[in-house]
Symmetry: C3
Amino acid sequence: MLRQTVQHLEIQTRGRGFYDFTGQLRDALSKSGLKTGVATLHLQHTSASLLIQENADPEVQRDLERLFSRLAPDGDPIFRHTAEGEDDMPAHVRTALTTVNLSIPFVRGELALGTWQGIYLWEHRHHPHRRYVALHLLGE
Amino acid sequence: MLRQTVQHLEIQTRGRGFYDFTGQLRDALSKSGLKTGVATLHLQHTSASLLIQENADPEVQRDLERLFSRLAPDGDPIFRHTAEGEDDMPAHVRTALTTVNLSIPFVRGELALGTWQGIYLWEHRHHPHRRYVALHLLGE
Amino acid sequence: MLRQTVQHLEIQTRGRGFYDFTGQLRDALSKSGLKTGVATLHLQHTSASLLIQENADPEVQRDLERLFSRLAPDGDPIFRHTAEGEDDMPAHVRTALTTVNLSIPFVRGELALGTWQGIYLWEHRHHPHRRYVALHLLGE
């Protein structure tokens, strides 16, 4: 019998960087009691992203930071929306270049992730922020 | 008792730019009578995107245009697929760099959007187009 | 009466490039017997993407390759995570710039794709890989 739950996950960031919340998601799935279905995640912000990426070598995350900083540097003179700081518009660009939505099937109570996949909140602002993810679980 | 509906939204564009259709989506959700669930949107085109972005300062959209135009300029000599015009291949690139799919939970009849989030169709072609979004609503 | 199925699709790549698996997805949908609902696809890798793009002119794919190679060239000296080769970190970047998740409604047994949309696995590594997509079908 299919059923659903909706809740919010809260993730406190310490500024720009990657925050692995795979464990938090696993806990929510476990508590739901659902074994097979699909998890939908929606980040309620426009200056941070949801990203599935390699969870083995932390150098991957630093390389992603460097590359995205080259695509949209802080303080880039191309930007006019600068009232909130040099990192504000680059944060919007990084969010547009990635995503704020994820949909991940789960089976036998486990997310169908690959061996090396972790689920990250990618904070794009330099200041700490409290971020919220709406989580919809559907299954049986 | 979970149930679903599928329909199409139609969005008429006036050329390159951002078209906020959050209201159109809210209307469809309201008419469905569903209170809790998940909305899945799929844009049926390869030269426009679905984007969730800030809905407060319109300068954000102009900055996004400028930045994406730098990543993939109209008429970039790197492109060979040019039969449909200088903006054709940049439109495909912008679509690849963003997305054509969104999945957004809703609760108490309201989309679980953040305060500053609007849902946009981002038209990448300079000519006006009629764009179609397949909308699947699931919930109770 | 809503019901769901979960399965895995397997896609063998021959190195960097686009692999259209729309037919494989259509077959899975047809076998499920579901007529109306939503298909959720999750690619279980961090160096390949799922992409919906034009399926008419193959030049589009070559142009996408060229453009993404300019954004994140193989062997770019900005990268430190290089142990697995010059194409490893560019593959992670391309995956971050695109997506590993798709959600596509279907109606009357047909995916709600646009006329020119094909569903691709975009392999970013030069060596052949066996790639897995978790496929969740929900509907009636």
